[in-house]
């Protein structure tokens, strides 16, 4: 059974948290918390994560959490980083656990600046492709044609490619990951922790409620996203060196789209258009990884 994972739960993420049953964001937080260890501080903006690790007066995490405003995660983390540096605690990891709204949208300005300053922060973006904590509205991470509360007939524009944007900043490390590939996620966390400066791991979080999924398929859906190439697993170092972690896409996108309520309005022609887009993006990615010349 090659695909089972090595995982040591040190108990740094506690039961009793407020995630929906089957929430794979909670699963990802569990892996992150236990990989990062106790010598860390988390910054959490309003998001599902904020709900999950709360509520007052209890915390689900064994590291301190600073609950900050939606747009200021990267700035708040910078402040903590600098304060720790000033008291010579450079070995304490400062992490951010933010959603896509707080990262791609309202928090983007602060994020861009923190990346430009190359603050020593490990930023996790839980990308559930919309404002799911507010009941499911579109964000700039919502994919093309996905229906949300604010795009009931499907989002007319494409998903923002945050990896490329951050790569263009020359960020030391940016990677994609999913809760369906916990071994890969764990490895990326370990790797990120050996790198100085700003690091970002974008984790696709199939939102059970927001995407219209059964309680037990979050992991399955994340794997489908990777297998059909709509969410490739890859890493970029120093904005230049691309590594593709799953070498091929093996499924048509329809296998992924048709299992989600947010795409149920699509007709075959539209699925074909999405397939074409995914194919093109995949080819471009292959060129960057040097797999295709």
């Amino acid at each position: 059974m090659a695909k089972t994972i090595e995982f040591h739960d040190e108990g740094l993420f506690h039961s009793g948290h407020a995630a929906c049953p089957g929430c794979v964001e909670a699963l990802a937080i569990r892996v992150i918390a236990n990989r990062i260890g106790r010598n860390a501080v988390a910054v959490v903006p309003p998001s599902c994560s904020a709900v999950i690790v709360g509520p007052h007066p209890n915390s689900a995490l064994d590291i301190p959490v600073y609950h900050t405003s939606l747009e200021s995660s990267a700035a708040s983390a910078s402040g903590i980083r600098r304060a720790l540096n000033a008291s010579d605690r450079r070995d304490t990891e400062v992490i951010v656990l933010a959603g896509d709204g707080g990262t791609y949208d309202i928090g983007f300005q602060a994020l861009s600046s923190a990346v430009e300053r190359n603050e020593d922060i490990l930023y996790f973006c839980f990308d559930n492709e919309g404002y799911m904590n507010t009941g499911g509205q579109k964000s700039s991470s919502t994919p093309w044609l996905a229906a949300t509360g604010s795009t009931p007939r499907g989002k007319p524009s494409k998903k923002k490619n945050l990896v490329e944007i951050l790569a263009a900043h020359g960020i030391p490390y940016v990677a994609t990951a999913t809760p369906g590939h916990l071994d890969d996620l764990g490895r990326k966390i370990d790797k990120a922790m050996t790198i100085d400066g700003m690091r970002m791991i974008i984790i696709l979080i199939p939102c059970l409620d927001g995407w219209g999924l059964a309680d037990d398929v979050g992991v399955t859906m994340a794997r489908l996203a990777v297998e059909c190439g709509i969410f490739p697993l890859y890493e970029v170092e120093q904005g230049r060196t691309y590594t593709l972690n799953r070498q091929s896409k093996t499924l048509p996108v329809g296998e992924y789209l048709k299992k989600q309520k947010r795409y149920r309005h699509l007709n075959e022609a539209q699925i074909g258009l999405i397939q074409a887009e995914v194919d093109e993006d995949w080819m471009r990615l292959l060129e960057k990884t040097g797999s295709r010349r």
Binding site: M1, H14, S15, P21, A26, A60, D216, V219, R223
Partner: protein, 569 residues
């Protein structure tokens, strides 16, 4: 702070504890349970083999452990690994993915490894005073003797012939089952301390009565040695022969002189054995069966190999009459529409008009099944048609006398006979030690006769392919057994298939989904978003305080060992 006054800062905004205080288990309506439901192969296995377990042991390289698990249920892994009709493979979930696991070939590998290594069967853990007689030295009798002996009984095995093995010796040609393998596995059983009396037929009530006094129980397993005959054929003719007789002689390397062209009538393994044996003696062979090809009771491999060996088949065809000619016989046949009946062995046929054809031949051998001898124990035991009547505990109408195998069942397969011997041993044990045997019987009939109670999860539902998370199982094609080429098969009775090499066995064992078996992969623990799975010394438990009932553990279980149930909290 030299400034007077006390600061009021005792902030309530910092956390003081952890979320464990919230019992989120109250959210759920369903709860997972480690039910380890039966694998379909197990449910299909006539000996209740723990197939998933022994393959798992083989995966881990523990061949001896795998063998011990095998012989817990079946003392003949090397034999079964050659001749079993392997309903396990038909049931195998992997069949719906990329080809069933070659369970039978794996079993043969383990069995051969045991013979090669000279492993002994586990000695009885206790010795009991009670003596038990087993009548019949075929697969069922040997199996019962073995299981009784392992439970500590003093077993005496009575065999009418001079050699043990029954049908395995008389009915199965050496190219399918080498005599060395047969002898090894029988000897190993006898070596457990079983008294064997050969040349001791027990056929009459008096003979049985004579035994009754000395034995606490008796198991009857004399088999079915009365061949069925085609009413339309005159068995007195020199060009007609029963398949059983043909095989006995062929297996002694003494082929009957029936001429060059032989027509074998029948569609089961026996028919195939007759045909292929005749082919090995250089005959031209045609098989004529009522069943269409898809419904032939023989194994697929046998059919394929028979064809490879140059045997012609007329399936879905019936012999209408035979005319003698100067140089042989003409078989007038017609094609038929074959409708299988509800019970095994039942069918209806309708000749298809204008479909007649003729086959020229020198002899006809019929292999259309066998019944228990009509006169056997007449008047002493109740009968059910041709069979001795038994109840669901394998008891005959006479107290302390049990029966099984072909004597009592229509299931004409070696492994069915072995399985009945095993169950009979358990029932005899239960009969003699009602208290101690409850658990024993439960174990033997784990999935067959446990009464359902409100606390019993639905244990009897086999793991379906849907319950297997295929992400954890990369596609891998079934490992074929190395076969002798058809040309090299003819002219000898060497085994046509080779035992797996270690490499082949490893690759094939790795394909097993381990359906329904917990393989301690930790997936349920690792994928639980609520940390609601507790790791135990051996296995896992659900923490009821925190499990939200999402079912992710079930979904991510690679083997379908966990299932969701309505919560009764």
């Amino acid at each position: 702070m030299s400034v007077p006054g006390k600061t009021p800062f005792e902030s309530p905004i910092w956390t003081t504890g952890k979320t464990d205080v919230y019992r989120t288990g109250t959210w759920r309506s369903a709860v997972p349970d480690y039910v380890n439901p039966p694998s379909p192969c197990h449910s299909a296995c006539p000996v209740d083999g723990d197939i998933a377990l022994w393959i798992r042991q083989a995966q881990e390289g523990d061949i001896h452990g795998a063998w011990l698990t095998l012989v817990d249920n079946n003392p003949f892994p090397a034999i079964a690994g050659r001749v079993c009709h392997h309903p396990c493979e038909t049931a195998c979930n992997r069949g719906g993915y990329d080809g069933a696991v070659a369970i039978c070939a794996l079993e043969r590998f383990v069995g051969d490894r045991a013979i090669e290594a000279g492993w002994s069967l586990p000695a009885p853990s206790v010795e009991r005073d009670q003596a038990i007689a087993v009548i019949g030295g075929g697969p069922s009798g040997l199996s019962a003797a073995y299981h009784l002996r392992r439970r500590g009984y003093a077993v005496t095995l009575y065999e009418a012939g001079l050699e043990l093995g029954g049908l395995m010796r008389h009915g199965i040609p050496p190219y399918r089952l080498s005599r060395e393998v047969l002898d090894s596995e029988i000897r190993r059983i006898i070596d457990l301390g079983i008294r064997v009396e050969t040349g001791r037929p027990i056929r009459t009530p008096a003979e049985l009565e004579a035994l009754s006094g000395g034995f606490a129980a008796i198991y009857l397993a004399m088999g079915a040695d009365a061949p069925k005959r085609l009413p339309s054929l005159d068995y007195g003719k020199p060009w007609v022969m029963e398949g059983a007789e043909y095989l006995v002689r062929a297996n002694r390397n003494d082929p009957p002189p029936l001429g060059r062209r032989i027509v074998v009538i029948g569609g089961g393994s026996a028919a195939m054995d007759v045909a292929r044996s005749a082919r090995r003696f250089g005959r031209e062979v045609i098989i004529l069966s009522l069943e269409p090809e898809a419904l032939l009771p023989c194994q697929r491999e046998e059919l394929i190999e028979a064809r490879e060996e140059g045997i012609a088949l007329h399936t879905g065809s019936m012999l209408q009459d035979v005319r003698e000619k100067c140089d042989g016989v003409s078989l007038h046949c017609v094609r038929v529409d074959f409708q299988p009946g509800v019970r095994r062995g039942e069918f209806k046929i309708n000749p298809i008009p204008d479909s007649g054809f003729t086959i020229e031949a020198d002899a006809i051998v019929t292999a259309i099944g066998q019944d228990p001898a009509r006169d056997l124990l007449e008047e002493l035991l109740d009968r059910d048609g041709a069979f001795i009547r038994i109840d669901n505990r394998m008891r005959t109408s006479r107290n302390g006398v049990f029966a099984g195998g072909d004597l009592a069942s229509m299931d004409r397969f070696v492994t069915h006979a072995i399985g009945m011997g095993k169950r009979a041993a358990a029932e005899i044990h239960a009969f003699l030690h009602p208290d101690a045997a409850t658990e024993d019987r439960k174990r033997v009939n784990r999935y067959r006769s446990v009464p359902r109670t409100p606390d019993t999860r639905d244990l009897r539902t086999d793991v379906s392919l849907n319950a297997i998370n295929l992400y954890y199982h990369d596609p891998a094609t079934r490992t074929p057994q190395t076969e002798t080429t058809p040309e090299n098969r003819l002219g000898n009775f060497n085994e046509t298939r080779a035992t797996f090499t270690f490499g082949q066995a490893g690759a094939e064992a790795a394909r097993c989904f381990s359906c329904g078996s917990c393989i301690f992969c930790d997936n349920c623990f690792n994928y639980c978003p609520d940390m609601a799975i507790l790791k135990l010394e051996q296995g896992y438990a659900v923490k009821p305080d925190y499990c939200k009932g999402c079912g992710l553990c079930v979904r991510e279980c690679p083997t379908g060992a966990i299932a969701m149930f309505e919560d009764r909290q």
